[in-house]
Amino acid sequence: MLRYAASELVFRSGRSLVTAVSIALAVLAAMVLTSLASSYARALRVPIETVGADVIVQQQGDIPPKLEGLVFPHPNALIPAGIVAQIKAIPGVIALTRAVYMWDLEPDRYESVLGIADSEVGLGALGRRLIDGKPIAAGDRAVLLDSDFAGKNKAKVGGRIKVGVDEFPVAGIVDAARSGKLVRADVYMPLKLAQGLASAAPQVRALYPFGADDANLVLVKVNREHLQGVVEKITALIGKKSVVSSELSMRDALSGVLFLSQSMGLIIAAVIGLFAAAFVWRATATSVAERRREMAILQAIGWSWRHIRAQVLIENLALAVIGTAAGFALALVIVLALGQVSVTVDLPWDLSATPHFIPTAAINRTQIITAPLSISWLTAGIATAGSLAIGLLAVLAVLALPRPQPWSLLRAE
């Protein structure tokens, strides 16, 4: 039967080509579109992953009466401890890291200060990026400096640095830029220390009743399946001044690009798959119609209808396999040729280590993010099953039509 199938496919090369190409195009579309979609989705997660959280929670605030000493940046208003506790209780929230983000604006200098809790994305992350000195613990009264900042200010481990009106020993230098997953700042300190400084800072107190347990930045780790629900609940909790950033914010910012949606990629692939199925059905129907006499001959020489159906099925499955393989090969070539996707986005959150009103600051919140393209084997499996189903269904649909009366096609009279 395989020999017969091979001969038949070669003999009806036009039909074979139409069928195989239709299936190949459907597989190609499914593979490339979903690959693009998943890569765009990955690219959109890159910026937020650099911060080490799934959701960044901030609140828009007011400009302090005087821009001096420790101030909260405009997007980092008070987030009371009570609100933080409610966020922590939202279903889908895995972990939460509180932080206090401040600018220290002095006549001769400015620096960004981050007080952060002891967590994977907090002091723990800082410890892993230490290039000199020793890590700091939650109860320490010491700071870590970013290596760029330390270099510019000629600060060294063992020295002291002024934050607001207080001085702190420098315990270590960190390379915060290395491998991301950390909010960038010039000076890092334990959360408690920063909370104390903030609650005592006049320009903070002028705007907010900042308590010793409050924060102005919350980094939330979320079960990704609940991401949308968590974001909606946090937004509702904080109100209209909330700035709740996640990969969803990135998607919203780029909603005009269809490829960014994985589901849209799948829908387009499914539509192409339907067209392919229609082509394959048509080609199979034409082929079977052309071969009605041939099928009658086969019946006359002792083939059962089951044998004939199996023969047509083998032929179509062979075309499905050839088409799928060709689609895979083309998809692989295209994915390798494209290499990666690249998206230019405006970051929806504001965690600038440099105050925007500093004349020399060159703040660029636009970021070009890239993600490698890769074939999803799940999609490959679905595409294979889909193309085999297309071949199978076409045969079954055609052979389910009323059987020809063999003798009417063969008789001499």
């Binding site: 017969y4 003999f11 041939e294 009658a296 209808w305 063969l410 008789r411 001499a412």
Partner: protein, 242 residues
């Protein structure tokens, strides 16, 4: 020679007729729409016999052959082939019976265009399990040799003449060593000379392989070679040894 005289002639072409009955048709009726093609036909064919069915166009002879082959269902009556009643047989059982006991040769060229002559001959044995692929291939080669086509084993039908295609069809009909070959005007599309040669081949091989032959034909010269001749008229057997 008159038709009646010709029908009366009953020289066995395949040697002495066997007493064993391989086909029995009883009171078979068939209607297409308002037209009753077969109006109660009875026929018996013995093993190894050459029986010719004659009659004008529309007399029902091809329909009768199709019913005997199990490729057409009668409205009434019974058909028994090799002791098996066709009525009520499943498609699979019917296919098995045809594959093992019946060879068919048609008027129109009936080869599969995508297959070579040898593959066409081997087609009825694609599902055989009792013989090896090499044995089946050897038998196909032998049969094509017997029909004079040793040099055309790997030719496709489109590259063979009409006579050569019918020879391939005859070799295919003999592939499974059937008990009977059913032939529907096998020389009808061939010129006289080629037709005669194909007919001789069919008869020779029938004798050689001990295969019965039930042939529908218009040609009195062909019928003259038959051991039994039946004539059909208006859906009934009007003359002959049935």
């Amino acid at each position: 020679m008159s038709d009646t005289a010709m029908l009366a002639k009953s020289a066995p072409a395949s040697g002495a007729a066997s007493a064993q009955e391989i086909i029995r048709v009883e009171r078979v009726k068939k209607r297409y729409g308002d037209v009753e093609i077969l109006k109660g036909v009875d026929l018996a064919v013995g093993a190894g016999q050459f029986t010719a069915i004659m009659g004008k166009s529309g007399s029902g002879k091809s329909t009768l052959l199709g019913i005997i082959a199990g490729l057409e269902k009668p409205d009434e009556g019974d058909v028994v082939v090799m002791g098996q009643k066709l009525a009520g047989m499943s498609d699979n059982d019917m296919a098995t019976l045809r594959r093992r006991s019946i060879g068919v040769v048609f008027q129109g060229f009936s080869l599969i265009p995508s297959l070579t002559a040898l593959d066409n001959v081997m087609l009825p044995t694609f599902f055989a399990t009792e013989t090896s692929a090499a044995e089946r291939r050897q038998r196909g080669v032998d049969l094509l040799h017997q029909v004079g086509l040793s040099e055309r084993l790997h030719y496709h039908p489109a590259t063979l003449s009409g006579g050569e295609q019918q020879r391939v069809a005859i070799a295919r009909a003999l592939m499974n060593s059937p008990s009977v070959i059913l032939a529907d005007e096998p020389t009808g599309n061939l010129d006289q000379e080629t037709g005669a040669s194909v007919l001789e081949l069919l008869l020779d091989l029938g004798r050689t392989h001990g295969t019965g032959l039930l042939m529908v034909t218009h040609d009195p010269d062909v019928a003259a070679k038959a051991g039994n001749v039946v004539e059909m008229k208006d859906g009934r057997i009007s003359h002959g040894h049935a």
